[in-house]
């Protein structure tokens, strides 16, 4: 397997793209030497976010990046869409709250699984969610 590039962009327009995002994030997480549990947490979080991009954002783009900072390495994944945006961010981050199908664990659950989580959204502005997981 060739090592992943420092950055990769993956369009999210269909079901199978969620799987492609998971696979890309997995290979970056391995390169960043995340433990197996941390790899699994990050891949699971990005799976939730990629599906949100598809389901609620009407599709968008994932960007996966390899990070280094001093002696530690990590992976950043961001998910951008031009969908309707999230009018009430606090509500969307509440466990169990859902606007549609699903169990309302996507955003709040994903946030618990990563080290850094930022959400940039607003009604009519699209949504960008960025997550980072560092090696320990």
């Amino acid at each position: 397997m060739t090592p992943p590039a420092a950055r990769e962009e993956i369009p999210i327009t269909a079901d199978e793209d969620v799987v492609r995002v998971r696979q890309a994030v997995r290979s970056y997480a391995q390169k960043a030497k995340l433990s197996l549990v941390d790899q699994t947490k990050l891949v699971t979080a990005t799976s939730e976010l990629a599906r949100n991009t598809l389901t609620y954002g009407g599709g968008g783009t994932a960007v996966v990046e390899f990070l280094t900072e001093g002696r530690r390495s990590g992976v950043r994944a961001s998910f951008q869409d031009d969908g309707p945006g999230i009018p009430d961010v606090d509500l969307a981050l509440t466990d169990g709250w859902t606007s549609g199908r699903g169990m309302g664990l996507g955003l709040s659950g994903a946030r618990r699984l990563v080290d850094e989580f930022t959400l940039d959204t607003g009604a009519g502005q699209g949504t960008t969610v960025t997550v980072v997981k560092w090696s320990r």
């Binding site: 799987v19 699994t40 891949v43 699971t44 709040s108 659950g109």
Partner: protein
């Protein structure tokens, strides 16, 4: 899309998931299992996820849905072989698998189904 094969062993149906699951694969599995339970009269379903490296909220919810559907056909479902990293992640994600029974491996899963069968009418 790939179809997950369903094997019949006695009155148990075994679905061993060996692929990176797309949402529609899981939906297809749910439908295929319902059909097969109905046509075969199986009393138990085993979902082997020992090769599955992530279970997110959608996939987890589908396992619970499969178990609930099977129960309507008088069949119990046992999810077997969950990897430790998957289990840790599921708990942190906040996902409980509802009333889905789990077992460490296939052998223990079959034992659970056999014990359930003995307790009822057989």
């Amino acid at each position: 899309m790939e179809r997950i094969p369903i094997l019949k062993i006695g009155d148990v149906l075994l679905a061993s998931i060996q692929i990176d699951l797309q949402d529609r694969d899981v939906l297809a599995l749910q439908e295929d299992l319902a059909e097969k339970i109905c046509s075969s009269g199986a009393r138990g379903v085993i979902l082997d996820i020992s090769a599955v490296d992530i279970v997110d909220s959608f996939i987890g919810r589908m396992f619970a849905t499969i178990a609930a559907t099977s129960r309507l056909f008088d069949a119990e479902t046992v999810v077997v072989g969950m990897r430790p990293a998957v289990a840790i992640t599921l708990v942190e994600l906040g996902l409980t698998l509802g009333e889905v029974r789990t077992a460490l491996d296939l052998e223990k899963g079959l034992a659970i189904l056999a014990a359930l069968g003995d307790r009822t009418d057989r």
